[in-house]
């Protein structure tokens, strides 16, 4: 089965890379997987929940800052910092969602964006924690039994977390909760008429996604060794959105495919030319015009045969 072979290849990759002297690419793939997690959490909000959020990077960044601040204060245990990052993501999403979900359409997009910007300015104001310049991670999180400073170990931990979260997403989508979300996405007035508290379902969806994004943030600050308010900027939220649209909104692996496609494309193009954004932009345009469902849609239509 295709999925199984991809998983085996993913597990084998860092060892193969090390043997070939491509250690740099292990870090690249780790980054891809972390963004895949972040984009997949957005997929829960957008693809399954039907909510176009332009402020998702806020939860991503908040989780990252949580770990960085804790590390600065001397708390480096992953068992403490990472769940706290999830909790921070959940808390922010709960507050932002509670207010934003009262609106619809473009207004919802703008309000989520506004809240993300507010959080951005909040982190800029934290002079003790770097302000506009951001902070370095004092030390990589410590996970008992695993030395996360080893790139391969970190890669495998991230892979496990990504796989676990995707499995959770799949179970969620197939559950009763997922079915209700699907119904709300298709025809909200009808679901309300049937007696479902649609606001509450959406809020739960939004909040869970926020927590997952917070976890991704905890991982990204470990990967980069650094976090700055720029991680919460609206263009970052836009990037996550683009990744997801590129991969296929609503497809379970849309976040993964999109993150991989975009980041690897960026990696390849930037080796050729300093103007890789131009190339990326052209590819994105082609995808919009030729492959409307993103990579997921393209694959569903038979891929190269289509």
């Amino acid at each position: 089965m295709a999925l199984g072979s991809i998983l085996i290849a993913a597990i084998a990759f860092p060892f193969a890379a090390h043997a070939l002297g491509w250690d740099y690419y292990v870090g690249v793939m780790t980054r891809v997987m972390i963004y895949a997690l972040a984009a997949s959490s957005l997929n829960l909000v957008l693809g399954y929940g039907g909510m176009i959020s332009f402020g998702h990077a806020a939860f991503f960044g908040a989780g990252a800052y949580c770990v960085a601040i804790l590390a600065q204060e001397g708390v480096v245990s992953a068992l403490v910092a990472w769940p706290l990052a999830v909790a921070v993501g959940v808390a922010c999403a709960l507050v932002i969602g509670a207010v934003s979900l009262r609106t619809r359409g473009l207004y919802f997009i703008m309000i989520t964006l506004a809240f993300a910007q507010m959080l951005y300015y909040f982190f800029v104001s934290l002079k003790a924690y770097g302000g506009e310049d951001g902070i370095n991670l004092a030390a990589r999180s410590r996970l008992p039994g695993f030395d996360l400073r080893d790139e391969t170990t970190f890669y495998l931990v991230v892979l496990a977390i990504l796989a676990g979260c995707l499995y959770f997403l799949r179970r969620l989508a197939a559950s009763r909760f997922g079915a209700v979300l699907h119904g709300i996405r298709e025809n909200e007035p009808r679901m309300t008429a049937l007696g479902y508290p649609t606001y509450r379902y959406r809020l739960v969806c939004f909040t869970v996604a926020g927590g997952a994004a917070g976890l991704a943030g905890a991982l990204i600050v470990n990967q980069h060794g650094f976090v700055s308010p720029g991680l919460l900027d609206w263009t970052q939220s836009g990037t996550l959105l683009i990744m997801l649209i590129l991969g296929g909104v609503g497809w379970l692996y849309g976040g993964v495919a999109g993150a991989a496609a975009m980041l690897l494309l960026e990696e390849v193009l930037s080796h050729w030319t300093g103007y890789w954004k131009l190339g990326l932009g052209i590819v994105l345009l082609l995808v919009v015009l030729r492959a409307p469902g993103g990579l997921g849609g393209w694959l569903a239509r038979g891929g190269a045969r289509g």
């Binding site: 300015y121 002079k127 954004k277 932009g281 015009l289």
Partner: protein, 306 residues
Amino acid sequence: MNALLLLEQGLNGLQFGLMLFLLAAGLTLVFGVMDMVNLAHGSLYMIGAYLMATAAQATGSFWIALPLAMAATAAIGMALESGLLRRLYERDHLSQVLATFALILIANDLVRMIWGPQALLLDAPRALARTIEVIPGAPYPAFRAFIIGVGLAVAAALYWMIARTRIGALVRAGASNREMALALGVNVKRLFTLVFGLGAALCALAGAMLGPLLAVQIGMGEAILIQAFVVVVIGGIGSIRGALVGALLVGMVDTIGRAFLPALLRGFLPNNIADALGPTLAAMAIYILMAAVLYWKPTGLFPARG
């Protein structure tokens, strides 16, 4: 805090607000009439500023360069619309976000290719490089006063066009009920191209006016785009009147907030907290304003539809 400072900041707020109006007017028309989210609007502003700077260098005159830059940007905008963007009208907002985001990437790199990464110099016209007394006893930079004049003139001209001409009636019809306008046989293609061209020309005007005050550099579009979107949301989609009121509100709140909020907070908070909180709240002010407006009027102040 004295009356003179308040007056000067009030005028600055008016000036900034009117420039935001130029951007927001185009944005709200495109969204209202064509139902399209155009993230590349900020890029047109940037292109307008760059063309203005280049034309001003080449001709040595601000006054000759201005209509040239506006015409060139309008042409670029119309070419973009008829060549690419019109394929997106029927698509969902997400596809439009993806495509116009791609355009931002492309535009930034193209500008960098043509003009290089350094910021360009754009000088205010020599005739206006002095102060005048808008209010007797209060000297104010003549160029800024000129901007206010231009902004008010454009607002009046747009009002006249929208309210009193046939084209304006078509625009209003398209904004309030596009399907009906189509059914009534409006030549939609030409109308859309014209609306887009008008929006692009306004962007160039704003870029030319603000160029001497802010920097003409890559990425200048992204920063102001968010503020323009906030204005559109506050004012109501599709409404020029809403864009004007929203822009003035945002311009005033932002300028006066940044000027006086820190000082105001010092009045009743300990200094170190006021110094940290002040600039942060000032930066957040327009988003808080938007959230407040949406809370009371979820579709903005003067929505064109419904």
